[in-house]
Each structure stands twice: as C-alpha cells, then as structure tokens.
Symmetry: C2
Subunit: 425 residues, 2 copies
C-alpha cells in the first residue's frame, strides 16, 4: 500500500472500499474462531518483527508534526515507542484469547407449536472507524472488529498517516498469511477530509460508524452520518454525596473520581453534596482538592463553606473540563440530586455515596445514565474494569450498545428456528 | 380530547407533545409493575364499558371512508366490531400478565477490583409510532410501550381519526384513574401530514420511531427521520429445498410458507430448489400451488419441468408479492442458494429444508437474515410464535432489535456498579 493523496475521484474510491469491505464481511462472518485468532497472533508477530521500520515510519509523522507545531501532548499520542509497539502486540494476543462471541446460541427452547427457537450471535457486517492521530487505535479497532467477524474501514488522523499505513501493511500481511481476505481491514489511503464525508454516506456498504476522538470530531460525524453511529459526545459525570454517606468512603471516592486522571471521559466533573452533610465533608474534601491543585467552582452555598472557591456559573454544570477543575453544588437531598443529574449529566456515569438502602435503590433506578454506581468511583466505567476484555469505545446512546462497548457491542443476534417439517396452523 | 385540524403552528404543537412525552417518561420509567398492570387492566375495562360509543365513533370513520371510496379491504381493517373490541381488551390483559422487563438485573458479578457489576434493563424513553388506519394498533402499541415504561406518541392513519380519538379517551381515563401521567400516551390530534414530518424531527424528545404499515409509509419515515427507526421495509422470504430434503416435509413446509396467508411479511415469495431434486419435487408442489390458485413464475429450468408457469424476470427475485404469486428458481445447490438469498432476500426470514446436518449448520450461520430456519415454515417468524408474548413489529436491521420485536426490544440496558468505597488504582 502506498500513500495516495492524488486520488482523482474520492467518491468513487470510497465506494470501491465499501464494496470490497462488504464482500470481505461475508467471508469473515463465517470464518472459524481458530483462523481469526491465528490472524490476530500473526499480526502481533509482524508488529514485533517490523518494530524498527514502524518506528522509522512513525518518525516521518513525528517530524512533520513538529514542523506543523503540534503540542507535545499530541506528539506524545502520535509516538510509537518500543513499549507502545509491545503493548499493541500484547493487545492483539489478548483479543485472540477472548471467547469468540460469533455463532454462540442463547435461549434455545421449544415452543408449544413444536419448533425450537433460539438466538445466534452474528457480526454487524462492516464497521467504519474514524479516529484521531493515535496509531494504536488502528490496531485495537482492527483487532476487535476482526475477532467479532466484522470487516473494518479505518480512517485515522492525517498526522498519523505514515504510521497507520505501516501498521496497515503488517495487518494486510497477517491476513494474507492466514488466508483471510485482505479487504477485511482497509485503511483509507488519502488524508483528504472529503473521504470522511464520503465514508459517512456509504449507508449500503457500512453498518455502523464509530468515531473516537474529541467533541469536534464526534459532532461532525453525528451531523453528517447517514449511517447509525455508536458514540459518546462527552462525559459530564457526577458524584452525589448523600447525607447518609459514610464520610470516609465519600472522601475516598470523590477524591479518586476527580483526581485519578483528569483527561478521561469517566472523570467526575461535578460534585453534588447533600446540604445536611456539606459543612462536615466539604472542608475536608476542598483541602485535598486544593492540595492537589484542583480549581474549585461552587454554588453560593458551597462558597459559604469553602473560601478558596470561585463562583460557578450556569455553564459550569454542563461543562466537561477534562482538567484539574471541579464544580460543586449543594443540593437539598436525593430528589434534587437526581433532578440535577438528569438535567445536566451527559448520561455517561454517575455515582451516589450513601449507606441508605432505599436511596441507593432509587438512585440506581432513576438516574438515566449508561453507568450508575453506588459507593464506587466513576473512574471504573471502562470496558477493562467491567470485564469486557477490551473496549472500542463508550456509548451514551440507548439503542444497541450502552456503556463501555466490547466485542458484544460489535455484534447482533438473529433468530434461529429448528423444525422437522413444522408448519403454521 | 377534541379533534383539531385548526392547529395554527404544527411545529410548535408537536414540540409541546414531545416535551410532555419526555416529562411523562421519567415518571413512567420509575412506575411500579403493579401500577402499570392496573392501568392496562383499567383501560381494558373502559374499552368494554364504552363499546357502543367506540362503535359509534368508528362509524363516523367508516361512513367517511365509504364516501371517500376506500376499498373493502381497507374498510375491514378500519372497522371496530364487538369481537374486535373484545380482542383489544384481551390483548391489554395479556400484556398486563407478561413479566415486567424493567429493572431486571442480569450478569451481576464481582470483578477483581472488588466492584460488583451488572446490567439493569431500562425503558428507551419516548417512542413515536406511525401507522395506518388500523385502530387496534393504537391500543396494542400504547400497551406495549406502557408496560415497558416508555411514553408514546401515536400517529394513526387519518381515516381512523375518530376511532383513534375515542380509544385515546379510554386510555387517558385509565391512566388518570390509576394515577399515571396522561401524557404517557398521546394521540396526535391533527390529521395534517405535516405533523408526521415534525414528529420525525423531534430528535431531542423522541428516542425511537416505529413505523407500521406499507412500503410507502416506511420509505417516507426512513427518508425523513432524524430519529433512529425500528422497521422492516419488506419481507422477501425464501424456502430452499435442498437435494437432501425429506420430500414429505419439503412439500408440507413449502406449501404452508406460501399459502397459509398471502398478505403477511413472513410469507415465502421465492422458492429455491436444488437441481438434483427438482424433477422429483416440483411437479408435486406445482400441482398443489395451482390447485390453490397460486400463479407460478419460474426460471427457464423450472419451466422445463412445470408447464403451467410464466417466465420469471430479474425483477421477480426482488419483489414482495403479498399475493397468490410465487417465483421459483432452480439452483445448483447450497452455495448457489445462499448466494441468491444473500443477494435478493430482504433479510427477513429464510428457511432450508434438508436432512443433511452440515448443510443445515452452514445455512444457519451464513444466511444473513433476522430469522433463519431449518425444516420449518417461514410463517413462524412472529412475536407470538416466538414466545415474546406480544409484538410491536419486526426489525430487519441489525442494530438494536432484530427479528420480531416484543417488550424487550422497547428497552435498553444500563450498567450498574456496587462498591463499598471502591476507588480506581
């Protein structure tokens, strides 16, 4: 595969990619588990064998990135180090070791008519993945789709184009070696942004689009896609400390949910505290946050308790800081907390800290988010922590997959019926 | 509720409906099972109590329909008879007796981190249903959505407007009587077609649209909707008689799949026959079909065996007749049959007749349809036959629900996490 920014007709080029992906998908759907696993392990071997070459290709991207003035954070994400390549290979082997969801049959039972009916898990078909300049996503996404029997069209950030193509070559060689169609995984060869728009219009060829990246990318995809999208736009996560909370647990969880990592979508952005416990707990927590360098923005009542705290404005309640900033609001109690969460939460992850049985039950039932927790840090909302073995992203939608999306989120089920000449009366 | 075709601003009117539906949905999501069941049974009682009035209102529609020159088939569907009203009430009581899917928790297990994680079934939220002039759909759809904790916006065919409003009044009274929000079920008060377009744009208020009706309606909804749609466009269902088929079972199933009812989406439209068995089975089957008055349209090879058979054209393989017409194609064997099905099938329901174990397994895995059968009539593809207890429709999409959609298809799951002060390391 060679870089090709001189494709004349991008619409036609993308259509061809779609047709090839669809053709590969039916072979992949019927591929045996052992063959898919062999492909994954072979690709892992090839990544390790080609480590130096991968780093050379990556250096082209890094040099261009430096010239372009990318921030050091972006360059960090873009870099393929020895450890990074080892991790990609290890990720492939882990996905190979996961159980194959495809073809598994559930709920097989007899009906009074005599037919036996069940549900068989099947691939979705063709998955388009649009992501930013993180070359490791190329491997992750391809591996998850391959294992779940889906063919993939990958469109990574233009800054990673050399790295992605080098990785793609390893993937292609691996597929070829084990005898799976090389069109099972296709990396788009042009950095032209028009290709993204074309991909989002391939509704006959592509079954689902998964965007991975910042809010701008997700918003563009949501706006333009004619294909269903699995996504989360942002993560405005809450911890509510109830007046029946265990103080020690509350401090531990609320501190961890904000400070364990600032830039992740499952980090708490707003802390809600019940009025009756606020004077007791807020000074302790505020000290810890401030020691850690977290900027506090609170409601008037919070500011009456915590001196070193800016006044939060209405926009703070709907903002994903992804940074060392926390908004704090004192609420009357559980009803007020649920009301605030269902109004401002991005339906990602929200947690209650309480020892009260009935309040925990109500919070679980009435908070309408993809993960709802009791006495646990929002930072747990993650495919690995949930035991999915891998994660292609997190969905805050209600249709199809919701919450962290692993292999099963890339599948569908069809009904299967066994009869012996049975007819409808 | 009064008929209102003089609503000035339909966009604004529909927005209000959306806002009210969303508000009702959070109350409904938390409603206890017993209360939802009480509402369903109360509405059933009210339908029976108001039978005469319902028939009077229905007569207004029937009179207008006759004047408009509706066909007798359409008038039949529109009519509310004593038996029809009894059936609607019985349907409500049956849905009340089904288990409540909402709040059920699956896969609850401990993770190495110490957190306990599971998945809780929750409503989708607000469901918009667009259907033709069958008043019984008003009751069915409202009941399924209510039981699954969703609020509903119903838009029935304009010919049934008086009937739908009368039914709606019974529903409203029932909701009021048990103390559930009357906005849980809203029937759109205008017959203006603009209202449908507005409904399809309410993407913040409505979570999913379910169209029920002919191809024209479904196509309009697919084209205009900004909201995810659960639908099937058509039902081009196949039976493939393999050369290893048991002759008696093959004749029984292939005859039933076509003739048990002509107008249903799970009726066979194309019969595929393996070349090696064609001369043996086709004459028997053709006689039976012709006796029953079924018009046969076959490939050249079929016509060489069956004299009373028109020549099928390319367009026959992709047509849903919904009538006493059958297309027949002789294929080389299993590969050819699967190829034909995956090309022309509408991914609704396809069946193989064979005694061969390996071919049955391959057909099940490789045919990409929402129901795949072995030695059974396609006519079984139905929510009641599958034991779902009820059916809001059939989905041929792969995302979210696939195949017959019952209560579970109107729900989502969210992750729930129990900790005891657990934090992420």
């Amino acid at each position: 595969m060679t870089l090709n920014n001189n494709i004349n007709d991008i619409a036609q080029y993308m259509q061809q990619i779609g047709i090839k992906a669809r053709a590969a998908s039916s072979i992949l759907a019927a591929a045996e588990t052992a063959l898919k696993n062999k492909a994954l392990n072979t690709i892992a071997d090839l990544l390790i064998e080609n480590k130096e070459w991968l780093k050379d290709e990556n250096n082209k991207d890094l040099d261009a990135g430096k010239e372009k003035g990318l921030t050091s954070a972006l360059l960090d994400r873009l870099a393929l180090t020895d450890v990074g390549i080892d991790n990609m290979a290890e990720g492939l082997r882990q996905i190979a070791s996961l159980p194959d969801p495809i073809g598994s049959i559930d709920n097989l039972s007899y009906r009074p008519s005599g037919i036996q009916i069940g549900q068989m898990r099947v691939p979705l078909g063709v998955i388009g993945i649009i992501y930013e300049s993180r070359p490791n996503v190329t491997v992750d996404a391809a591996a998850l789709c391959l294992k779940s029997g889906n063919s993939t069209i990958l469109r990574g950030g233009s800054e990673a184009i050399h790295s992605n193509h080098a990785i793609s070559e390893c993937i292609q060689k691996g597929l070829l070696k084990v005898g799976l169609p090389t069109d099972s995984v296709q990396v788009i060869e042009t950095t032209d942004r028009v290709a993204v728009g074309e991909l989002l219009r391939l509704k006959d060829a592509v079954d689902v689009i998964i965007p991975r990246g910042g809010k701008g990318l997700i918003e563009r995809v949501m706006k333009e896609s004619l294909i269903p999208v699995i996504k989360h736009l942002d993560g405005i996560c809450h911890v509510y400390i109830d007046d029946q909370a265990d103080l020690e647990k509350a401090v531990k969880v609320a501190y961890n949910a904000k400070t364990q990592r600032y830039g992740t979508c499952n980090t708490m952005e707003t802390l809600l505290v019940a009025e009756r416990i606020a004077e007791k707990i807020l000074p302790i927590l505020a000290d810890k946050y401030i020691d850690k360098g977290v900027e506090l923005r609170g409601c008037e009542k919070t500011r009456a308790i915590v001196s070193n705290c800016k006044l939060a404005t209405e926009s703070d309640w709907g903002e994903e800081y992804l940074d060392a900033i926390l908004s704090i609001k004192i609420v009357d109690g559980l009803d007020h907390a649920i009301e605030h969460i269902n109004k401002y939460s991005s339906q990602h992850t929200d947690s209650i800290i309480t020892q009260d049985y009935s309040k925990a039950r109500r919070f679980l039932r009435e908070v309408d988010s993809s993960s709802v927790m009791v006495n646990a840090s929002t930072r747990f909302a993650d495919g690995f922590e949930y035991g999915l073995g891998a994660e292609i992203g997190i969905s805050t939608d209600k249709l199809h997959a919701r919450g962290p999306v692993g292999l099963e989120g890339l599948t569908s089920v069809k009904y299967i019926v066994f009869g012996d000449g049975h007819i409808r009366q």
